[in-house]
Every structure is written in structure tokens, then in C-alpha cells.
Amino acid sequence: MTIIQEISELLQKGRAKNVKALVQQALDEEMDPIEVLNEGLLSGMMIVGEKFKNNEVFVPEVLVAARAMNAGITILEPKLVEAGNKPIGKAVIGTVEGDLHDIGKNLVIMMFKGAGFEVHDIGTDVAPQTFIDKAEEIGADVVGMSALLTTTMPKMEETINLMKEKGVRDKYIVMIGGAPVTEGFAEQVGADFYTPDAASAAEVAKKAVVVK
């Protein structure tokens, strides 16, 4: 097994410490940091996401894998900057106003990171204006909104309408999700994409930014 394969395997098992050590070793051996990132860390995370989507692994496993990924990325970061690595896009992701559920949102963020996005987590209970302000500030490609309560779903529509009002709607790929959200609802409120799980969300976003 190559060191890169090993990084991917250990990440999938959530072994943050080992991942960290191996990433360091890879750098010491002067391997390409971008390759370590894409083929080791991110590909490992994508495998975990895929397994989660298929119900083979569950939330805690995704979280520990993401922790391992983050540990690896921290070590890589300076080298990535040096090597001029660019994220495939920028995303602002948060839970809508009135809603504090964040587990699903956090999984989506992890999978976006795993797909190579620069992600800005704006937390929970996020007002429509705040979504827009942040997206404008960082020049986001994707705005992702999560809602777990049927009573807070209307906030998604409000945010989209506010975007239209401000004339910025077309700048962003708007994605929505959360257990009570449906494809039909996404259509109705004028979001670009809905996906039922985090792994597909990242896949769809990745494709969408390429087209954009």
C-alpha cells in the first residue's frame, strides 16, 4: 500500500493521529501536497460519504473521519498555499433562522470540504440577510441552507426572495436540505438543488460549480 492509500484508509477509520503522522511523513518525503490532499484525504472522505449515503456507516463514523481529514489538512495547509492550490469553489452553509439543528448541516459542510470546497460555516439560527451578507463578503459560489423543522422551512424561501430583491440571486447556486425538505419544496421556493443526503449534496455542488 502506498502512503497515500494508507492515509485514505486510516481516514476512513477515523484515526486522526495516524493520519496526521502520515501526512507529515508524506511531506517529509517531499510528496506533492496537492496529491496528498486529493488522493489521500479528500478521496478517503468521499468514500466515507458514499458509504454513509448507502447506510453502511452512520453519523458518528462520518464525524470521526472528518476530524481525521481536518487534522490532515491542518498539516498540509501551508504547503498547499505554497503550491498554489485553489479550492474548487466557495460555499456558505448554515441552518436557517429559528432552527438550531446542526448535525446534518455539519455533515454537509464536511462533505463539501471533502469535495474540495472552501466552506464558511455560518452556524445556526441564521437570518436571511446574514446568509446574503456572508455570501457577498466572501464571493461565494454556493449558498447552502439546512432546516429540520417544518416551521422554519419558509425561511429558505424568504432568503431566496431577499436575494432576488437585492438582485444577487443569480450569483449563487442555492441548495437546500434537511429531513423535512423535499424536491417539490425546492422547486416551489426556487432553490437550484435539493439532495436528501450530504454526499450527494457535495457531488451536485461540485458539478454545478464546473458548469457555472
Binding site: 458518528p60 464525524l63 439543528h101 423543522l149 416551521t151
Partner: protein
């Protein structure tokens, strides 16, 4: 708009209604006060609103909430009916007055308005003897199974309908209970969660469904019955037991009254293992409460072959040497799996290694699920990988909530005297198996006790003992709520307890 004649066929009843082309079947049925199961309130996600169209181009089974009539037709439905539903009216651990013979001159009614069920008892106020019990399914159920769906429905214009629906049911209960009574009803005491109280009182639910979840009123309510239900019905005073916060209501306070928390020296815990997972810990000095939103898995919701506690629901299972043996409620032919059955199956599959500690099912069952048996209509009752995942979300919410409550209360394990499990699910639950899947903590196993319908028991206490209302008010005032949503520690415990260990 095109109108169609729809003949609605239930078990042994037939009626004709009219529906417009832009109304789906669920809406049409609701408009005619025909209550069918609609767990997800018409989102097309739960699959519980199935009806059968008997003729025409749409012939076959379909979801009522997603299907619109295109011609006159006949449909076969199953209404929410109480005959087959097991509704709990006894409070086992609660203070019992014993079965005294009633003089029958001083009568009152104790009522428990649950999100799913309604229980009312005619009680002799002088000695607490129960003379008659009335049970029904809460017909608001066709507006969604959980409180959030009802709040949502109320906020979208159904408030009036929901108020009328429960008023009508209360009236029917009163009528039923006082059929053969010898004296007029003196008063009625109601225990209900905050949402049920809001809907009954016609309060705005606008702030009840979004953070920070502010109820209009949590205090004791005293109102005349005729004024409450808005009809020319009987007139007598009604007392609604006070609540604590949006998700810990008068039903829990009533439970605390019935279980005498106000007099306890030692620390006790009360858990309602329902959709909202309300729980309280404390004694006469200090009380903490919280709610953990487990979801409907323990009521059979979101489970592929899940069903409420109806006759024919699998509620017991043992798996030995690869052979499954099961029992159903009332021994009726298998129709699905109810909450306690879900717990038992999970436990059995874990025990025999067919589900591992991370919740992963054995390869042999991963794709198709573990098949149990066929129903009379020939469909297979199964327990699937996705079902196990639902259980993990639900059981961990309860367990992590409980751990947080104990942690924040700052009490050592040994100091906890008793854990009462309220509600129908708790009553039929096999505690050993619940501990086995990690729903409840093992170190307390011998301290766990089913409390039955403690809300109803509390309403009865208040009905028969004037001091009990004061106790309830004191308990409610004393209680402090802990919020889990923004708590990092809760999230950690939630992840940890998702495993089966």
C-alpha cells in the same frame, strides 16, 4: 373548478363526498371530517396516508396526500379508529385511590389530551373512584403526527378547524361519560402538552414552532366548559394544569404531581418516551426539565413496517438459533411493528450479531432487510437497515438528553432513587431490552419503573384534591428548563450514544 363525487368506503360505513380537482384526497377527506392517518401532514414522505382507489383510471393504492381526483370514483380508506388502538388509562406507579365504591353524587372528569390519544375518566370527586373511561384517537392526527406539524397546520389557517376538532371530541367524551350518571358534572381537569393547550384555547401558535419557542401562556387556566368548546353544551368549570415551557407542558407537571415529586427527598426522574422525549429530574427542592425530540420511531413512525400500538402489531420478539418468534398485540394477525416491537427486534438482532455495535446490519440482510412474516394481505413485514438508523437517532436523543439532565442536576448515580417511564410505550416496553440497546442506562436498570398514564393520574389528583393544583403550580414554578440545542456536550453525548455498546 371541476367537482367529483367520491364514494368513501370504510370498514362497514359508506358515504359520498364531493371534492374539487385541485384538492388532493387527504384534503377532501379532512374537509368532510374524515380522519385518516397522515403522519407527515401531507408531505408525501411517511406513506401512512395510503388509500385504495377502487375503479377508474387511477385504480390501485396511492398516497391520499399526493393524489388528485380526475373523475367520480370509489375509494377505500382506513380511518383513525380507537377500537383497534391500545390506549393506556392506568397510572401504575402513581398514587392510587383504590377502587372504592362510589356514592356518585359528586362527579368530575379527568382528561389527558395527548397528541395521539385522548383519555377521559368519570371520577367520584369524594373518593377518587373511577366510574367510567372514555378513549379516542386525537382526530387532529390527520394534520400530522407530531406537535410541530399541528403547529404548522394551525399557522397555515387550520387553527379554527383544529380547535373545533378537539372541542367536538371533548364534548363527545363528556356525553359518553355522563350517559348513565346520576348527578351533574362538577368540574373537569385537563392535562395536556403545550401545543394541545394552545390549539384547544385557540392561542396563536406563531411563536411555538420556532426558536426560542415562546408559549402564549403556561399558567393554570380556568374556564367554563361551554365557553371553551364554544357550544351550547353543558356548563361546568374546567381547570387546565399549568405547564413549564413550550415542550414541557401540563402533562408532565401532572405526572410530577401524581408521582409526588413535591414531597420527595431523594432525586427522581420522569421520562415520557414519546416523540418529544420530555423529561424531568428532581425532588422537593429543585427540578430540571428538558425535551429531546426523539421523533416518532418509538411510535412506529419512520419505520418501514412501523405502525401504532394496534391489534396485530408485533410487540414482542425473540431470536434464538436463527429462528424468530414473535407476539402481536391481542394475538391478532401480524400487521406491522409497533414501538416496543422495534426495541425488541433491535435488541434481538444485536444479541445475535446480525447488527453490529455501529448499527451495521449483516450483509445477508443489508439490502432487503430482515423479513419477519407476511401480513394477511401478503405484504412482507420487514426490519431494515434504515430502520436501525432511525432507532439510533431516536434512542440516542433520549439517552443523551437523560445524561445531560443528570449531569446538569449534578447528582451522582447512586443518589437517584427511581426513574419513571411514562406513557403507553413505556408501559409495554421490556426494560431489559431497552437497556440492552442503550436507550436507558444499565446502572439504573433496577430503579426503572413504568408509570403508566401519569398525566391522567395527575389530572385525577387535581380533580379530587384541591391542594394538588397548588402543588402543580409550585412544581411548575420551581422547574427550570435546560436547552440542549446549543450545547456542545449534548452533541458529544448524542454521537457517543448512537452506537450500541
Amino acid at each position: 373548478m371541476q367537482k367529483y363525487k367520491i364514494k368513501v368506503i370504510e370498514k362497514n360505513k359508506e358515504q359520498e363526498v364531493t371534492g374539487k380537482a385541485d384538492q388532493n384526497f387527504l384534503e377532501i377527506l379532512r374537509n368532510h371530517d374524515i380522519a385518516i392517518n397522515a403522519l407527515c401532514n401531507g408531505q408525501g414522505k411517511c406513506g401512512k396516508c395510503k388509500i385504495e382507489i377502487l375503479d377508474g383510471v387511477q385504480k390501485g393504492e396511492c398516497l391520499a396526500c399526493k393524489t388528485y381526483p380526475v373523475e367520480d370514483c370509489r375509494i377505500k380508506i382506513q380511518t383513525l379508529s380507537r377500537e383497534t388502538f391500545h390506549i393506556l388509562s392506568t397510572g401504575t406507579a402513581a398514587k392510587q385511590h383504590g377502587d372504592k365504591v362510589s356514592a356518585g353524587s359528586n362527579l368530575g372528569i379527568a382528561a389527558d389530551i395527548g397528541t395521539t390519544t385522548l383519555v377521559m375518566q368519570l371520577v367520584d370527586i369524594d373518593n377518587g373512584a373511577v366510574m367510567k373511561t372514555y378513549t379516542a384517537l386525537n382526530e387532529q392526527g390527520s394534520y400530522g403526527a407530531d406537535v410541530i406539524s399541528r403547529i404548522e397546520a394551525a399557522n397555515n389557517g387550520a387553527a379554527e378547524i383544529l380547535k373545533k376538532s378537539i372541542s367536538r371530541q371533548l364534548e363527545e367524551g363528556v356525553k359518553e361519560l355522563s350517559k348513565s350518571k346520576k348527578a351533574p358534572i362538577k368540574r373537569m381537569v385537563i392535562a395536556a402538552n403545550m401545543t394541545m393547550v394552545h390549539l384547544l384555547m385557540g392561542y396563536s401558535c406563531e411563536k411555538l414552532g420556532v426558536y426560542p419557542f415562546t408559549p402564549v401562556n403556561t399558567e393554570t387556566i380556568e374556564i367554563d366548559f361551554a365557553a371553551l368548546t364554544g357550544t351550547a353544551g353543558e356548563s361546568f368549570p374546567v381547570i387546565i394544569i399549568p405547564g413549564i415551557c413550550a415542550y414541557v407542558g401540563g402533562d408532565i407537571v401532572a405526572g410530577l404531581v401524581a408521582l409526588d415529586f413535591i414531597k420527595c427527598e431523594g432525586v427522581h426522574i420522569l421520562i415520557d418516551l414519546g416523540t418529544n422525549g420530555e423529561m424531568a429530574i428532581g425532588n422537593k427542592k429543585k427540578i430540571l426539565v428538558t425535551s429531546t425530540a426523539a421523533g416518532p420511531a418509538f411510535e412506529g413512525g419512520n419505520i418501514s413496517s412501523g405502525i401504532g400500538s394496534v391489534a396485530g402489531a408485533l410487540n414482542k420478539a425473540t431470536l434464538t438459533e436463527g429462528k424468530i418468534k414473535y407476539e402481536t398485540i391481542m394475538g391478532a394477525p401480524l400487521v406491522g411493528i409497533c414501538g416496543s416491537g422495534v426495541v425488541e427486534l433491535t435488541h434481538e438482532l444485536l444479541k445475535s450479531g446480525l447488527v453490529d455495535e455501529t448499527g451495521l446490519m449483516d450483509e445477508a440482510y443489508f439490502d432487503e432487510g430482515y423479513s419477519l412474516d407476511k401480513t394477511v394481505t401478503g405484504s412482507m413485514v420487514k426490519f431494515t437497515q434504515k430502520d436501525v438508523r432511525e432507532i439510533q437517532l431516536a434512542k440516542s436523543a433520549i439517552r443523551a438528553g437523560l445524561e445531560m439532565l443528570i449531569l446538569r442536576y449534578g447528582v451522582a448515580y447512586e443518589e437517584i432513587e427511581k426513574i419513571y417511564i411514562a406513557g403507553g410505550f413505556g408501559y409495554y416496553l421490556n426494560i431489559k431490552k431497552a437497556v440492552g440497546i442503550g436507550l436507558l442506562p444499565g446502572q439504573y436498570a433496577c430503579k426503572i419503573e413504568a408509570a403508566g398514564n401519569s398525566a391522567l393520574a395527575g389530572a385525577k389528583c387535581v380533580l379530587t384534591d384541591e391542594a394538588a393544583l397548588k402543588e402543580g403550580e409550585q412544581l411548575a414554578a420551581k422547574a427550570e428548563e435546560i436547552q440542549l440545542a446549543a450545547d456542545k456536550e449534548f452533541n458529544e453525548l448524542y454521537m457517543k450514544n448512537m452506537y450500541f455498546e
